[in-house]
């Protein structure tokens, strides 16, 4: 393990992660001692519109992957429309490689609760929901405990801190479907229906939960709000880049010495992040990596100096996504990895639209054959074409996400595919695996 150089270490900007290592920061008493709920008191003193303006000024962009400006989204909520407004927090973190929200909710749940109260106040919602992934039992337990504590302290419920503002916060556990991370499927699921993406328009800002104006934000987005309220827009913008302001939690996994969450200003490079993570594992050389989860096109060693902000990654032909960086080395096979991802997408496809439902079924089987040494040259063309026929044709982004690793590995690592087809690479799956494969 190599120690990071001081100038790289300085790039760490612990904001959302600052309490994670404080013992018992998930308890309200500790949280309050560590500046907790100060932002809420400050926020309740200002007009909700000013809060929206503050968030606009901060340049905060959605942390769920798409990077939509948060203040703009809040501003879409029609005010004075006589309808109930809702805040829904997307905590259905399920993208392979992504692991920023669950530790946040486990180790610092009150920051999310506090952010939720401020955001609800800003958009005039009296009911907010946290839709948390069903498998995240421990995080949900911590979160429920935090909500209870907040109620007991008067941060939730009626007339919060004497402000006249009421808010109920509900923690809802999903039932284990990746698709429910898609915001409209999440809303359907929250309403008790089968989780499938909705037709847009209408967008959630107009007709979201229970056909009422709804803001759906990622955990990281909402948890950022208290810091912006306390520190101000300018302080927030002092981190990151001009168009990608603020700190970001980079989740590093794979062939590095110290996998984990590294919070740095947007725009840091993979080279620096690997250094922060103690370098590559001994004997491993970087071969390919995902910038933001398996749904983002993979990048290769040549992209190691790409600035990890929305614009920089886009310029390199990929997407910043959830900054879930899975790092693979020369001992990893991109074909095998893509197959594993595809099995996931195939399993998680909701089935609503043809390309995602059928395309994944097809591609998974083709990969199984290739990896069993039974692939053909034609398979590569078919794979490429099928992925092209899925990408941009599916109902929601899940289909695009499934096609992405196929297209990008075929682009960068075609020879690895040919290795299996031409018999240069030993099969990774046996014939037996194919029997009755389903």
């Amino acid at each position: 393990m190599t120690q990071p150089r001081p100038e790289v270490l300085q790039k760490l900007t612990p904001v959302l992660t600052k309490r994670w290592l404080s013992p018992d920061a998930w308890q309200i008493g500790v949280y309050e001692r560590l500046d907790g709920y100060l932002a809420l008191r400050k926020a309740l003193d200002v007009h909700p519109d000013d809060l929206i303006q503050l968030v606009k000024d901060s340049g905060l962009r959605g942390r769920g992957g798409a990077g939509f400006p948060t203040g703009l989204k809040w501003g879409f909520i029609p005010q004075g429309d006589g309808k109930p407004h809702y805040l829904v927090i997307n905590a259905d973190e399920g993208e392979p490689g992504t692991c920023k929200d669950l530790p946040l909710m486990t180790y610092d749940p009150h920051s999310l609760v506090e952010g939720a109260i401020i955001a609800s106040y800003a958009i005039r919602a009296n009911r907010a929901f946290i839709y948390i992934r069903g498998e995240a039992v421990h995080a949900a337990r911590r979160l429920r405990n935090a909500v209870q504590e907040a109620y007991a302290k008067g941060y939730l419920g009626k007339n919060i801190l004497g402000s006249g503002f009421d808010l109920d916060l509900v923690v809802h556990s999903g039932a284990g479907a990746y698709i429910c991370g898609e915001e409209t499927a999440l809303l359907d699921s929250l309403e008790g229906f089968r989780g499938q993406p909705r037709l847009r328009p209408p967008f959630p800002a107009v007709a979201g939960l229970y056909a009422s104006p709804t803001v759906v934000n990622n955990v990281g987005t909402i948890a950022s709000v208290p810091y912006i309220v306390l520190g101000g827009a300018d302080w927030w913008k002092s981190m990151g880049t001009e168009k990608s302001a603020g700190p970001m939690i980079y989740s590093l996994s794979g062939r590095i010495t110290n996998p984990g969450q590294y919070e740095c200003g947007l725009g840091i490079t993979l080279r620096e992040l690997i250094e922060l993570a103690g370098g590559m594992k001994p004997g491993h050389n970087l071969k390919f990596w995902t910038p933001g989860g398996s749904s983002t096109p993979i990048l290769t060693a040549e992209h190691i100096d790409t600035p990890m902000d929305f614009e920089g990654v886009a310029a390199a032909g990929s997407i910043l996504g959830t900054t879930a960086m899975q790092i693979f080395s020369d001992q990893d096979c991109p074909v095998y990895n893509t197959w594993r991802w595809l099995e996931f997408y195939h399993h998680e496809s909701c089935g609503k639209c043809t390309p995602c439902r059928e395309g994944n079924y097809w591609m998974v089987r083709t990969y199984r054959r290739i990896l069993a040494g039974q692939g053909t040259y034609a398979d590569l063309d078919t794979l490429q074409d099928t992925a092209d026929n899925i990408f941009g044709r599916s109902f929601c982004g899940l289909g695009d996400g499934a096609a992405t690793p196929v297209v990008s590995t075929l682009k960068w690592f075609r020879d690895d595919y040919l290795g299996y087809i031409e018999g240069r690479t030993a099969p990774r799956l046996s014939e037996k695996t194919l029997v009755g494969a389903h």
């Binding site: 089968r194 089935g351 609503k352 390309p355 097809w362 054959r369 099928t386 044709r393 109902f395």
Partner: protein, 831 residues
């Protein structure tokens, strides 16, 4: 198109380089369709909400990063759309989707019912590849699944377009099929215990399966029709024919008064299936399962194909030649004319045939003793002298076409009395539901309880003890309130005739509130028979028989001498039956009437037995032919041309679907008349239509009836007031032999309120016996939110033939006891 002045609510866009104007909100796929550009599609259906699920209809829209689904994309000003005709991107996207749809689709077209008329097959030819690149295993499922006794599901053929589930939820309101599982294992299915390992979700109503929940809908056949592949098939048609061997003819449904347009497909002289016809003004593109599948009665084994004469020696019917039988009928009727002949044409006739009966009665028999109403026309205890319904029909219905489906859909509010729309006029039910869901139509129902059908209309209930409806119409503020908005519609069912003062109150209420009034009978021929003059008080065109001028004009039109047409109102159905039973009448001329449908079936059969001479114009052996002296076979609807008049008063003309030698009622009556030296001129449909068109129209209307309101019956201990109506699928004559269809009939139950359940000591599912002096009915109890001391029975369902077994109708007092299984005779009746 550019020079057309643009309306504010239109936009101009370009599709494949052609400029086109479209209404705001119109979908791109519809605009393209109007221009003659066929974009392939599966999930899209013009009457269902857009889904965007199948992705087959992708097109390129300039400025959009990805191809867009034209079935969900609405038009915008200046939009530039390129379909597969002008965009390689769109063409490739469509070809790609088609390829993916086919990878898991079986290549069983040669044995699939849909083969030859399959959107998937057709569009695979237009949009798909010539060969498949797919070399993996296809998805397999157990096949087929019976999701109801009528509907079968082959899941491996399904393309998951969700048309069926969307129809069931959006249109019918019967959400019994849904998507289950996910990914490539996603499938349509019904709730099945073995699928979920669950306990069952029966809602506790007696008779419902507590475990599996089948596809329990009166409209399930529509899902088969709109399925774009062969995943949903009908038990009745499965493996019976190839579409390209069938001859398709437009037709009209002969069952209820909804007036559905249909398509009948036949091969080698036999109808193999029927489909909903496309008529936006009436049934849109839907029909009910009864209309779709209830057509086997015409091929029943007891169909009469040759005239029959009763042999005086043996007393049995024997086959006879037409000339012999017609002569016997003519002579018998001529001889009975002096004493009087009653004419019961029934409610299943075409307008043309009904007119023939009306004219035959007046011109040949010289009588007004004619009544199409084959049902109770007054309450069980009313005096036969009351003519409230006939007066009401004369004053407020005959010749009037005030209310249409469209008017109902667009009304702000509808009040329903004496009608259970889902059971008695299912397409009206669908339209009410559409109005309720899409146009915020509020529905109020005066009924004993809020049925599942009424619930699906979001109806507010004005709970009524049967017999009390008239009082409620006169005095209940909720009733008047429901009609307060301009444009409101009052819909009364034929059953209101059994409430003394009910129809008078309805007419008065309509006049008082300004609401439009619609009368909905139950049979396809009822309204037509009314307008054709098959009532004792009305001539064709809704003109009173007592109107001198009307008689004179009609005499002129019919070329009969003055004085031939009788000038006083004749006997109605009850009085015809009574007069036949007591020997007053000399003969009966009976069309398609089942005595069991009449108010007192026993008396009706006595009348048939007692009357000296009976001529029966029938399709099949029946309770009437058993007593008939002459039986003359006539053509079923499918073998003749004609016109039904639906409840709106709308004419539903159709041509013969099957060629046949069977004659219409009108042709047979004409032949009898000819033997009596009268030229009836009713043998040819077009001749009748010409004649009907030339008849003078009614000018003045008789006054509204003002019948007395009668206090509803007061049941004593262990008694209750009877509520009853027909279920859509029951023991009706036209449903004989359709066992598959009977499988989705609602299980017969006796509905009682909590009060009766407690006093009888029964719980849901326990047997309850309802009896009168005549007999009893024993059914499982279904505890329902009914007014106190009211019991509901299905009128004519298996185990519950109310009129035959009890001899009473709604509003009568019946006895109740906790039931015992087995055949029941009431107390005091000898076994």
């Amino acid at each position: 198109m550019t020079d057309v002045a643009k309306k504010a609510d239109t936009v101009t866009l370009t599709v494949d380089g052609v400029e086109v104007t479209a209404e705001k909100g119109e979908l791109v796929i519809r605009v393209a369709e109007r221009m003659g550009i066929a974009i392939p599609r599966f999930c899209d259906h013009p009457l269902l909400a857009p889904a965007g699920a199948c992705r087959q209809c992708l097109v390129e829209v300039e400025g959009q990063r990805k191809p867009v689904a034209s079935c969900t994309q609405t038009v915008a000003e200046g939009m530039v759309v390129k379909t597969q005709l002008s965009s390689p991107v769109a063409a490739k996207a469509q070809a790609g989707i088609m390829e993916m749809l086919l990878i898991n689709h079986p290549l069983d077209c040669p044995t699939c019912d849909k083969g030859g008329e399959c959107p998937l097959q057709n569009q695979a030819m237009s949009t798909g590849r010539a060969d498949s690149r797919f070399v993996e295993h296809k998805r397999e499922y157990e096949k087929p699944i019976h999701i109801s006794s009528q509907v079968l599901l082959d899941r491996e053929r399904c393309v998951l377009c969700q048309r069926c589930t969307r129809f069931s939820e959006e249109i019918a309101g019967d959400k019994f099929i849904d998507l289950m599982d996910r990914s490539s294992g996603e499938q349509i299915n019904v709730y099945r215990d073995d699928f979920f390992g669950g306990e069952g979700t029966g809602d506790g109503q007696a008779g419902e399966d507590e475990g599996d929940v089948p596809f329990n809908s009166y409209f399930s056949g529509n899902t088969i029709q709109i399925c774009p592949v062969g995943a949903l098939t009908g038990e009745q048609y499965r493996f019976r024919a190839r579409p390209f061997d069938l001859v398709s003819s437009p037709s009209a449904c002969e069952h209820c008064a909804a007036g559905c347009s249909q398509r009948a497909d036949h091969r080698r002289g036999k109808v193999l299936r029927r489909l909903a016809g496309d008529d936006p003004a009436v049934n849109e593109e839907w029909n009910c399962d009864k209309g779709r599948w209830g057509f086997r009665y015409t091929t029943a084994t007891d169909r009469i194909t040759t005239p029959l004469l009763r042999d005086p020696a043996s007393g049995r019917l024997r086959e006879a030649s037409w000339s012999e039988a017609l002569l016997a009928a003519a002579e018998g009727l001529r001889d009975a004319r002096e004493r009087g002949v009653g004419v019961l044409p029934g409610g299943r006739l075409t307008v043309e045939d009904a007119y023939a009966y009306a004219k035959f009665a007046r011109v040949v028999l010289g009588t007004n003793d004619i009544d199409f109403r084959a049902r109770p026309i007054r309450s069980s205890g009313s005096s036969p002298a009351t003519t409230e319904e006939a007066d009401f029909l004369a004053a407020s219905v005959a010749g009037i076409t005030d209310v249409t489906y469209e008017a109902v859909e667009n009304a702000p509010s509808v009040l329903i009395v004496g009608l259970e729309p889902e059971e008695e006029c299912p397409i009206l039910f669908l339209r009410l539901r559409k109005g309720h869901l899409k146009r915020k139509l509020t529905v109020t129902a005066v009924s004993p309880y809020l049925s599942r059908g009424l619930e699906k209309l979001g109806a507010a209930l004005v709970a009524a003890v049967p017999g009390d409806e008239a009082r409620l119409l006169n005095t209940d503020p909720a009733v008047a309130g429901a009609l307060s908005a301009p444009g409101s519609v009052l819909i009364v069912g034929e059953r209101l005739a059994t409430v003394p003062g009910g129809l008078s109150a309805a007419a008065a209420l309509a006049r008082r509130t300004g609401a439009r009034l619609a009368w909905v009978p139950r049979r396809a021929g009822d309204r037509g028979a009314l307008d054709a003059g098959c009532l004792p008080n009305l001539l064709p065109g809704g003109r009173p028989v007592t109107d001198v001028a009307a008689r004179a004009e009609l005499s002129l039109a019919w070329r009969v001498e003055a004085g031939v047409l009788p000038s006083t109102a004749g006997r109605d159905v009850d009085r015809i039956v009574a007069a036949a039973a007591d020997g007053t009448l000399g003969a009966l001329l009976v069309g398609g009437v089942d005595p069991a449908d009449l108010a007192d079936p026993r008396l009706a059969e006595e009348a048939l037995a007692a009357v000296p001479f009976v001529v029966s114009l029938e399709l099949r052996q029946s309770a009437v032919t058993r007593h008939a002296d002459v039986v003359l076979p006539i053509a079923p609807a499918v073998e003749k041309a004609g016109t039904y008049m639906d409840w709106e008063g709308r004419l539903r003309s159709f041509a013969a679907v099957l060629p046949g030698t069977a004659m219409t009622d009108g042709r047979v009556l004409e032949a009898i008349a000819a033997l009596l030296d009268v030229t009836l001129n009713t043998g040819d449909v077009s001749a009748i239509r010409r004649e009907l068109g030339s008849l003078p129209a009614a000018t003045a209307r008789p006054a509204l009836p003002a019948a007395e309101v009668v206090e509803p019956a007061r049941p004593a201990e262990r008694e209750a007031v009877l509520a009853t109506w027909h279920q859509l699928l029951d023991l009706g004559t036209l449903l004989d032999g359709d066992e598959v269809l009977a499988g989705t009939a609602r299980p017969p139950v006796a509905r009682i309120g909590k009060d009766l359940a407690e006093s009888l000591g029964v719980v849901d599912g326990d047997l309850v016996t309802v009896s009168t002096d005549r007999g009893g009915v024993t059914l499982p109890a279904a505890i329902t939110d009914l007014p106190p001391a009211v019991v509901w029975l299905p009128t004519n369902s298996p185990g519950s033939t109310v009129r035959r077994s009890l001899g009473v109708t709604a509003g009568a007092v019946v006895r109740l006891q906790a039931g015992v299984p087995g055949p029941i005779l009431a107390e005091g009746v000898a076994r």
